[in-house]
Structures are given as structure tokens and as C-alpha cells.
């Protein structure tokens, strides 16, 4: 054994390592099912054809809602899941995106769907600036500062007369028949959700994502290993704000009005956290599964009880149960036990 090690040249070692890495990659490929998310996407893209044979507006609305939740949860996941910085204030960027695109629509008549990337960039710029301040602290202090961020934003938007204050602004509705009115928003939201999930996959497998994961494990060690933790964290904050801002832009026009009480309520921030915890923080598939489950659960509850108060109660109960018994979420827990079905392995 000893002589063998002395005999081997650096070239041998490198080629052996390359072969080993390749084998690992092939193994990972074998357990991954790329076709499954793609198949879902194709189904979602052709789903509106049902409108030719009947009225499926409610179903389209549900898919649209789920897609918006997917985009928000996957966006939140980039900071909260990968970097481990739990924010309870990301609905601020939802509001910024919604208000920016909504005001452009109200003033200049440019559709929020076209403006969504710009709205996302505006939200990202705010995210970068806010991140520079709040990401100086971590753990509970960061969570507290994120709640304060929502409170400040709510106070500002409630009293900013240019954007209508607490009453908000009514946006012009699209002049499409009710049969087709949802379609532009449907496709926009599905596209945003798909791009967000794809981006979170790419981020997770990049050097940037590796750095973020190192930060979530131990920030001091990551720093001493040469990672520019401040830049990484703030960039992650800005990226997650970008996707949530885009979602907000489309959501505002879809609802045809923007108002602080739609965007800046803590339940929206709580839902983002809940979806990621439900599905699995730091995984690619987790936020998607969380969003689907949350929408299903909400619809069930509203249909059964019809009371928003019980909805809040139920959200809290699910969150507490998940945190206590399955802190890794559905995907994380199944993966830990080696029982994750192939179709859910998107990492």
C-alpha cells in the first residue's frame, strides 16, 4: 500500500480523481429525472387550450397562483435556503415590483408583463442596498431586522400619496374577453416560475451557490476559506429580490389594483418561509412542492371553513409541526432516508 502511493505520479492521482468525479456525476444523473419538470412545464403550457372546450378560469387561476408562489418561494430559497439567512420581510420586494410596474402601467400604459424584468431589477437594486445594511447581522437579529423592514415599508407606502397611500391605485383592466383575460398573466407567471426554478438550479450548481452553502454552514470558516461572504450574501439577497419583484409586477396587474394591504402583510412573507420549510429549504424541488401543497391546503381550507382566521391558524399549525418534526422538509427528509423518488430529485 505504502509503496503504491510512492510510485503514483501526480498525473495518476489527477486522472484517478477525474474518473471518480465523473462516476459521481453519472450516479447523480442517474437518480435525477430532468424529464419530469420539463413534462410539467409542457403540460402547463398547453393547459389553456382547455378554454376552447369550456370555462376553466378557476383552474387557470389556481395554476397562476401556484406559479406565483413557486416563483416567490424559489426566489426566497436563494437567500433563505442556500445562504441560510431567513428573511421574514421579502414581501417588501413583492411590493416594490408590484408598485413599480403598476405605476408605470397607470401612468404610461405599458403592460406590467413587459416591465416585469425592469421591476425585478428595481427590486434587486433595493435588495442590494437593504442587504448592505441588514446583512451585517445574522441569525435572530437578521430575522428581526427583516420584520422591521416590512413595518417601515408598510408605513411608507401607507403614507405615500403619489402611489395612493393606503387606498392604493386601481389599474386599467385588459380589454380581453373573460374567456382569455387570464392567459397573458398565466403565461407570464408560469414563465417567471420556470425561470426562477431553473436559475435556482443553476445557482446551486455554480461556484456562487457553493459559496452560499458554505456561508449557511459556517460563515466564519467560509470567510477564512477566501469567500467574499459580504458580496456573496448581498448578491444572493439581490437575486432573490429580483425574482420576487418580477412576480409582484405581474401579480399587481393581474389583480388590477395595488394596495399596501395586498403586498405588505406578514402572511405573504410567512407563506414564502412556510413553502420552503414544507418542501425543504435549500433544495430545488422543495419550494415547488411546498407551493403546490400550500395552494391545495388553502383552497381546501377556504372551501371547508371559508374563514381567513382559521386559515392563519392552520398555516401556523402546519409550520410548527414541520419545524418540530421535519425541519428538513419533505424533500430533505426523504433524501436523508434515501427514499426520495426520482421524479422529485431536481438537485
Amino acid at each position: 500500500m505504502k509503496s503504491q502511493m510512492i510510485d503514483s505520479t501526480p498525473g495518476d492521482v489527477l486522472s484517478a480523481r477525474a474518473a471518480y468525479n465523473e462516476r459521481l456525476a453519472r450516479l447523480a444523473d442517474k437518480t435525477r429525472a430532468v424529464w419530469f419538470p420539463l413534462a410539467i412545464l409542457v403540460i402547463l403550457l398547453v393547459l389553456p387550450l382547455l378554454q376552447f372546450v369550456g370555462n376553466y378560469n378557476y383552474m387557470l387561476h389556481l395554476v397562476l397562483l401556484t406559479a406565483s408562489y413557486v416563483a416567490m418561494a424559489a426566489g426566497w430559497n436563494i437567500l433563505g435556503g442556500f445562504a441560510g439567512y431567513i428573511s421574514l420581510g421579502h414581501n417588501v420586494f413583492f411590493a416594490i415590483g408590484g408598485y413599480f410596474a403598476g405605476m408605470i402601467l397607470a401612468r404610461f400604459g405599458i403592460s406590467a408583463i413587459i416591465m416585469a424584468p425592469v421591476a425585478g431589477l428595481v427590486a434587486a437594486a433595493f435588495g442590494y442596498a437593504i442587504g448592505l445594511i441588514t446583512l451585517r447581522v445574522r441569525g435572530p437579529a437578521f430575522i428581526i431586522s427583516s420584520i422591521a423592514m416590512v413595518m417601515i415599508a408598510r408605513l411608507l407606502f401607507d403614507n405615500w400619496h403619489f402611489v395612493g397611500g393606503a387606498n392604493g391605485v386601481t389599474l386599467p383592466a385588459p380589454n380581453l374577453s373573460s374567456q382569455w383575460a387570464k392567459l397573458p398573466y398565466y403565461y407570464a407567471m408560469v414563465a417567471i416560475a420556470a425561470v426562477t426554478v431553473w436559475s435556482s438550479y443553476r445557482i446551486k450548481h455554480s461556484k456562487f451557490g457553493l459559496g452560499l452553502r458554505a456561508i449557511s454552514k459556517d460563515e466564519i470558516k467560509a470567510e477564512s476559506a477566501g469567500i467574499d461572504t459580504r458580496f456573496y450574501k448581498v448578491t444572493a439577497f439581490a437575486i432573490s429580490a429580483f425574482f420576487i419583484g418580477m412576480t409582484g409586477a405581474v401579480w399587481g396587474e393581474y389583480l388590477t389594483y395595488i394596495r399596501p394591504s395586498i403586498f405588505l402583510v406578514i402572511l405573504i412573507a410567512a407563506n414564502m418561509v412556510l413553502m420552503c420549510i414544507l418542501g425543504g429549504k435549500g433544495t430545488v424541488a422543495g419550494p415547488v412542492i411546498g407551493a403546490v401543497l400550500l395552494v391545495a391546503f388553502n383552497e381546501f381550507f377556504v372551501a371547508m371553513m371559508g374563514a381567513s382566521e382559521l386559515n392563519i391558524l392552520g398555516t401556523g399549525v402546519i409550520m410548527a409541526v414541520m419545524l418540530m418534526f421535519f425541519p428538513l422538509g419533505i424533500v430533505g427528509t426523504l433524501a436523508l432516508k434515501g427514499k426520495l423518488p426520482r421524479i422529485l430529485n431536481w438537485d
Partner: protein, 292 residues
């Protein structure tokens, strides 16, 4: 001049109530390292206790205060047993407990809202809307009584922490949990007791709140950041610091409300929270940066 004195008095009145609200939160953080986001929702639960006592039987909120305290302390024991005892050894304990208390806050809000609906309420004993007049200056009786009772309770709490055996154990555990356990302090028992006391203080604060502010189940979100600013500014775990921060910030907020506009007075607390987190995360009286 008179206006300045008047505004200061109103600020002190608010500060007294906030001090009691914050001290329970501070105690729980000091001993358990739990950032209890459910604290304001438990205060609302205490306020409802006093409210129904007054509405149904005409009992004065100040008389209902011990009832609310004991009821909430019992709820505290229950919450501790259900949620926190098993998790004390988890690696991501502090972050997880923040989310867990967030979930508890939603559970309490939802339960209160489902039972009592989300309308604005206020307990209205005769003194709630009355005031003493000293020349041109008036002192609202409700705030005066609430502030005095809250100072009395905080004084009792301070004496308890300073002189009683359990108080010693609580302070020892706050300073160094492991060392306290090594010296024979039953830290789990201390944790349970201090959690019960902290939540009991929320109940007491709720009873006082019920006639000082109008309240509804969803209102606790407005208070979370306010209370956090007091506790963070005072130095998490330092009750003296919380009291000082409460009075200081409440007076500043009263001035902002009087001279800038009443909508902006709560902004004082949020900005203070940001500034303290950024420039002095250990707070005014904290010794080391606990939260970092």
C-alpha cells in the same frame, strides 16, 4: 414649554406600558435564548382576558390583571412543554425557535380571531378616558395607572431576581447556562419557570394594554418590531436596559408624533431597531454581541 412637558408626560405614560411588555420578552431571551415573536400575540391574549372580565362581569382590568397573569403563565408552561423542551439541543436552535414562535404567533392570532373576530376593542373603565389637570397640562389617568402598576410589577420582578433563590438561579443561567448547570442549577426547571414568568408578564402587560390601546387579534404584528426595538436596544436579556430603552424611545416617539406627525411616531422604534442592530448589536446594556 408647556407643550414640551405635556409631550414628555405622554411619552413616559407609554413608556411605562412598553417597559412591562418588553421585560417579559427580555427575560425569556436572557434565560432561554428564545427570540419570542409570539410575545405580542400573548399580550393580546392577556388583553382579551381583561376585556371579557370587564364586559361580562364588570371586573376592573386592574383586578383582572392577576387572573390574566396566571392564565398566561399556565399557557406559557404549556407552550414550553409542547414546543421548546424537546428542541433545546438542536444545532440551529436559535433560528428554529424564531420561526417556531412565529408559527405560535399565527396560531394564537388565528385562534383569537376565530373566537372573537377582528374588530377593534378597548376596555373602558371610567378612568380610561379621564385625566388629571395641572394647570394647562393633563395627565391621562389610564396611562398613569398603567404606568404605575407596570413599574410596581417590574420592581417586584427585579427584587425577585435579586433576592430569591430562583432569581439567583435565573440570573446564573442567563450569564452562563453551562456553568450554572455545572454548579447544580436545574437549568430545565429554571427555563420552564422563567418562560412561565415571562409569558405571565405578557398577560399582565395585556391587562394594562386593554385600556390604554385599542386592540384586535392581528394587532400584534405592529408590536413585534416595536417590542424588539426596545429589547434589542436595551441589550437582549437586560431588564434594566429594556426599561431604559422603553422610556427613552417612547419619549422620542411622543415628540416625533407631536412635531412631525402622529403617523410617523412608530417609525422611531423601527429606525432605532435598525440603527442599534447596525452600530451596537449588543444594545445599551448588553455585554457581548449576543445575537451575532
Amino acid at each position: 414649554m408647556e407643550q414640551i412637558i405635556q409631550v414628555t408626560i405622554l411619552g413616559i405614560g407609554l413608556g411605562g406600558v412598553f417597559a412591562l411588555m418588553g421585560s417579559g420578552l427580555s427575560l425569556v431571551f436572557g434565560v432561554m435564548r428564545i427570540v419570542n415573536l409570539a410575545h405580542p400575540s400573548l399580550i393580546i391574549a392577556g388583553a382579551f382576558t381583561a376585556y371579557w372580565g370587564f364586559r361580562l362581569w364588570g371586573i376592573d382590568p386592574l383586578v383582572m390583571l392577576p387572573v390574566a397573569t396566571l392564565l398566561l403563565a399556565a399557557i406559557g408552561v404549556l407552550l414550553y412543554k409542547i414546543f421548546f423542551e424537546r428542541n433545546a439541543k438542536s444545532a440551529t436552535y436559535s433560528e428554529m425557535t424564531v420561526l417556531l414562535t412565529f408559527a405560535i404567533a399565527m396560531i394564537i392570532e388565528g385562534a383569537l380571531g376565530a373566537m372573537f373576530s377582528n374588530t377593534q376593542r378597548v376596555t373602558s373603565p371610567s378612568y380610561a378616558t379621564d385625566a388629571f389637570f395641572l394647570g394647562d397640562i393633563f395627565i391621562p389617568k389610564g396611562q398613569l395607572y398603567a404606568g404605575m402598576v407596570s413599574m410596581l410589577i417590574i420592581g417586584l420582578l427585579a427584587a425577585f431576581l435579586k433576592y430569591s433563590r430562583l432569581g439567583y438561579a435565573i440570573r446564573a443561567t442567563t450569564q452562563n447556562r453551562d456553568a450554572a448547570a455545572l454548579l447544580g442549577v436545574n437549568v430545565n426547571m429554571v427555563g420552564l419557570m422563567s418562560f412561565a414568568i415571562g409569558i405571565g408578564l405578557a398577560g399582565a402587560a395585556g391587562a394594562l394594554t386593554s385600556f390604554v390601546f385599542s386592540f384586535f387579534p392581528a394587532k400584534h404584528w405592529e408590536w413585534i418590531a416595536v417590542l424588539m426595538s426596545l429589547v434589542v436596544m436595551g441589550g437582549m436579556g437586560s431588564i434594566v436596559g429594556t426599561v431604559v430603552a422603553s422610556f427613552g424611545l417612547s419619549i422620542v416617539a411622543a415628540f416625533v408624533g407631536a412635531y412631525v406627525g402622529s403617523t410617523w411616531s412608530t417609525m422611531t422604534f423601527f429606525l432605532a431597531l435598525f440603527l442599534v442592530l447596525l452600530f451596537r448589536p449588543q444594545g445599551l446594556f448588553g455585554e457581548k454581541p449576543e445575537l451575532l
